[in-house]
Amino acid sequence: MTADIKHEGGTRRDFLQLTAGAFGVVGAASVAWPLVNSLNPAKDTLALSTTEIDLAPVQLGQSITVMWRGKPVFIRHRTPEEIQKAQDVDVSALNDKEPDSQRVQKPEWLVVVGICTHLGCVPVGQKTTEERGEYGGWFCPCHGSEYDTSGRIRKGPAPKNLAVPPYEFLTDTLIKIG
């Protein structure tokens, strides 16, 4: 009889202590979350995430670099030869299989994020005088990745093609990235 009562008291005590422990865990987690979440991009950072660029002054064959979300975006005004080269590639032979048509909205304008998909360096090749690798696109000096005129990875350690950011043509020569 007494043992029973004691046992009952024991379970009830256990229950109370477990519940209290659970409250402590939930409470600590709900305090930790705002602290962690505060490190995510703030509202003013997010508000600046679109960039508008006037393409009119960019000559055929010329490339420009613009800043979007703190990163370089390459915009290349491709020549017909470069477009031809990009379209003639056998897609099934590529590491990251994407036809050129999926990577551009207007064939003469290639817009890609200028960050090597290997470890984040900025490839060279924006100027015609710079090394562009054997596929005529960009060459990453850090670890030797080579990209073609569609910004696709052709050689070296990088796993993916240069990313295409979200963008739209507001007019024929005005583009909004983001």
């Binding site: 008291g9 005590r13 305090v31 505060s38 490190l39 003013d44």
Partner: protein, 677 residues
Amino acid sequence: MGSGYRQPFKNPVVEWIDSRMPVFTLMQKEYGVFPVPRNFNYFWNFGAIAGVMLVVMIATGIVLAMHYTAHVDYAFDSVERIMRDVNGGWLIRYLHMNGASFFFIAVYIHIFRGMYYGSYKKPRELLWILGVLIFLLMMATAFMGYVLPWGQMSYWGATVITNLFSAIPLVGDSIVSWLWGGFSVDNPTLNRFFALHYLMPFVIFAVVFLHVWALHVPGSNNPLGIEPQTEKDTLSFHPYYTVKDTFGLMVFLLIFAAFVFYAPDYLGHPDNYTPANPLVTPAHIVPEWYFLPFYAMLRAITFNIGIPGTEIVFITAKLGGVIAMFGSILLWFVLPWLDTHPVRSARFRPLYRLFFLILIAVFALLGYIGSQSADAHWGPVPLSLLGLACTGYYYAFFLGILPWLSRYEKAKALPSSIHEAVLKVKAPAAIVILAVLCLASPSARAAGDAVHPPAQHWSFNGPFGTFDRASLQRGLKVYREVCSACHSLDRVHYRNLEALGYDEAQVKAIAAEYTVTDGPNDEGEMFERPARPSDPFKAPFMNENAAKFANNGALPPDLSLIVKARHNGPDYVSGILTGYEPAPEGHELLPGQNWNKYMPGHVIAMAPPLLDGGVAYEDGSPETVEQYSHDVVNFLTWAADPYLEERKRLGISVLIFLAVFAGLMYAVKRRLWSDIH
């Protein structure tokens, strides 16, 4: 540390670690089975509570430091960015701001508990001294932290406190310019204060460790002040006091949360929502409430000390004040040797108890005096004189009364052991808490003969208050059509207007009505473009000088924070907008001056801005000055405190959670202790 005999643990992982570094044995010994007197009252909770507050301050502080910029040009803006743009930033900052106050509340109760029950006496002198050291470190940390937001109070607080050191004879001025790193409080000062403010909490943490170490050698004192003799007198720390401490902590956090969510700026000062201005001192500067008693002692010494009737001065009034202030805390270091009475607890020392309770009252009164302006009176009594009397009592208590009582006070008979004594919580509990909370009374209003504007009903008041969206939109219209001709609204962006009930397209359209300067473009030229939602509200003037020049030399303040930067902001701003009157007989106004009954000093440069019918409302609301002012104040309150609604909503859940948790812990504690009593 924890070496010597060790009981093996059953869990192999725990045992593997413990046999190499006996951290589990140590925790078990110091926090598991550690014997604690069984007769603690709730005052003994505050050590643990203070420890938790230190962790809260460090955790929130580290995150704040990641968002803060320690530069005079950016500090204020970066704090406002935390309040407006950083995810949950307002909550983290309010926790940190109010956390400082609540840390001090816990520590003051902890200190006065130690004094009341004689916890500083042999063999706990070193424990006490380490505690006083923690308190000093806390004061320094809190002071430097208050400088970081770089508001008016930050700047002038830093100026006044650093100038204290100029009272030191001969080398004072050199020390002050060394502290500043320049000729005034400026960027170098802010940078070093930030570095030190980040460092000091970890020093405090280390001293707390020593404090706890020093506690665990003699063990805790208790309300009877007699040492435990047998196992009957003690309980294991876990679970008895872990549970009791958690319950006390939850009640404490409940009050803390009530301030954070419902009165986050109550313990602060509105002037600190005005950016620092080295050219203008606010009318009435006061330190944070927890420094007020010491500040009152500083101001109590208003006379030179020297040979009367001659010009010979040994101690100037300035130095005397500084000595009185610092000395009042330094005295605590030698308290164990000022009070050498063999009985610890005030419970058995009626005279000590009486004089000590008077000391608490005097300390609270000093806090009140410190909050008032230097020339304030209580009836015919100048408060400074009262402050001097209180300071006198404070010193007399430590230097005269204590040594005298040590020798002559006859104590009541002590009980023979703790478990035989009748245990009951006495009234002083309430007195000390009340005294400390009294200090937290709102600080004094700016002096002047201004009439206080009438309190209005605002929809955002109260724990469930929300903004009236229609009024916010009308208020925006009033701001855009009237106020924005002279007043900027720098901290509000067009994108923020979605909170007023506009959709994305409407916000874009509003922004596009403004033209802003951007650039330079590729040719190096600045150019004009329509504003985007990500732009801040366009300011009416290029810069401050242009604004002053266009307004007869008076700078129209930025309105982003005006409601927070004034006492009773909504009523005050509304009062100013509606308080214009012809100047009474005998008051000559200069050209460009106007008479306003609610303006401190009554003379205001701003011409009456609102006229009946001046702004067309589309929703049929009355087009009167009263309605305009009500709407624009609603709008400006939102501009100053955009998370008001979210804060109040979240507060309800937090308070409910803490209340349930506290109730649960109380049930656990009752259950646990039912076998003990």
